[in-house]
């Protein structure tokens, strides 16, 4: 099957900052994204579990979007400006898609 090389941007971000990231993605040159719940983890600020929180403050979510390699900088830079001071991770990796015109 013919596949096409794209970039997968994965953003793990604090739940309270989610709307800011999604609003930015809506304005940017991405054609779509997917938000995943995440359950637990550990990082520089210590460990956390979603069911051990009484509010959204300590919860994390994951946002994944796929875009053309040429657009990566124009997506990641504004997103990084939003999340730079927050707890979180941004990773960029290669991926392959079947319908290139969708991304």
């Amino acid at each position: 099957m013919q596949t096409y090389l794209k970039k997968r941007i994965a953003i793990v971000i604090e739940q309270p900052a989610l709307n800011r990231v999604l609003d930015a993605l809506d304005r940017l040159a991405v054609t779509g994204y997917t938000v995943y719940p995440v359950i637990a983890g550990r990082g520089r600020e210590g460990s956390w579990r979603a069911d051990a929180m009484v509010s959204d403050a300590g919860r994390m979510v994951s946002v994944v979007c796929v875009c053309d390699p040429a657009k990566v900088d124009s997506v990641v830079e504004p997103i990084y400006k939003i999340v730079a001071r927050q707890v979180g991770i941004i990773t960029i990796s290669d991926c392959e898609v079947i319908r290139p015109d969708h991304f």
Binding site: P16, G46, D51, S55, A57
Partner: protein, 328 residues
């Protein structure tokens, strides 16, 4: 009733005992958990029930000048307490400006669960209170956050936290639209619009189930507080832990003095003191993650949830009811 009798009656109430069960289970590393979605449902239910009942009570009693005065007093207390808290934290602990401001914001804002627990304690003692105090609770959620931001800006003018007026506006909108604030205020307004008729229609849900739901919610709060204590207390200094115990008393005394002028009933005075003495762990932590993300949640959440909340629930509430008896 003496302060000792009040404390004993409170400590042996199902609410406090369920909280103690959750706390002990978490400290003993039991695998008991309340699923996240059920915990969220319980929190929403609590906001809806307390907001609706408060609104219906206001519909019955009507809006008067005293209500406006108490609302303004609540906002003033919420804005003032962080100033005192911040100064005390900077004097007695080694917390940074940002951490001290974030902690201070939590103590200026309120805990709706502590408020609900206090209303249940009053009900069990046969003491009535003004329904509009739930509106006071809602307006006391946010002024403390603004005070904390001003404190940080004053101490660190170069911090540039909101990238101008638009950023601050967006932040205020996010704080104002926080789910708990919307649910509480919205339910209050619906209760006020529908009044006695509305309350009768939803009574089996918001009244009959209420006490059992609070017990289940407090079990979850105990689990969360216990986990927080287990993991978070290690990162707190003794002076910070002491702050979590004496700050509610200072806030209670400020509200106590103000209550002389407000003319509230015994129950209303006890609730006003409880609101001032409680510390937020729902609305403010979410706001702090956006406004002051450098502040460490392990400090402010552990203090408000692992130290002050258990203190208020067990010893604070009976003390505040007793204190209210000295005003009224």
């Amino acid at each position: 009733m003496s302060a000792f009798d009040l404390a004993l009656a409170n400590l042996l109430s199902p609410m406090v005992l369920f909280f103690a069960l959750g706390l002990s289970a978490a400290l003993a590393r039991s695998d008991l958990t309340i699923p996240e979605s059920i915990a969220k449902f319980l929190a929403l239910y609590l906001m809806m029930a307390i907001g609706f009942k408060g609104g219906a009570a206001v519909a019955k009693s009507g809006v008067d000048l005293r209500l406006v005065g108490v609302l303004l007093a609540g906002m003033a207390i919420s804005a003032l307490i962080p100033l005192i808290g911040f100064a005390l934290l900077r004097l007695t602990t080694r917390l940074s400006v940002v951490d001290a401001a974030a902690v201070a914001a939590h103590y200026g804002s309120i805990s709706i669960v502590t408020f609900v627990a206090a209303t249940q304690a009053l009900t069990s003692l046969g003491i009535t209170y003004e329904g509009y105090l739930i509106a006071v609770a809602a307006v006391m959620e946010t002024p403390a956050i603004l005070t904390a931001l001003l404190l940080v800006r004053r101490a660190r003018p170069d911090s540039g936290h909101h990238e101008g007026r638009e950023g601050l506006g967006a932040l205020l909108r996010e704080i104002g639209l926080n789910g708990s604030v919307v649910m509480l205020t919205g339910s209050f307004l619906i209760g006020m619009i529908t009044g006695e008729r509305g309350l009768k229609a939803v009574s089996p849900f918001v009244n009959d189930l209420f006490f059992g739901m609070i017990c289940l919610f407090l079990l979850d709060m105990g689990l969360v507080a216990g986990r927080g204590m287990r993991e978070g207390l290690k990162s707190l200094s003794w002076s910070a832990i002491a702050f979590g115990l004496y700050m509610p008393l200072i806030s209670a005394l400020i509200a106590f003095m103000l209550c002389f002028a407000l003319g509230l009933s015994l129950g209303g005075t006890a609730l006003m003191i409880t609101l001032a003495a409680s510390a937020s762990y729902i609305a403010v932590p979410a706001a702090m993650r956006l406004a002051l993300p450098e502040a460490k949640p392990s400090i402010y959440l552990t203090l408000s949830l692992g130290v002050t909340f258990p203190f208020n629930l067990t010893l604070g509430i009976p003390l505040y009811v007793w204190l209210a008896g000295r005003v009224v």
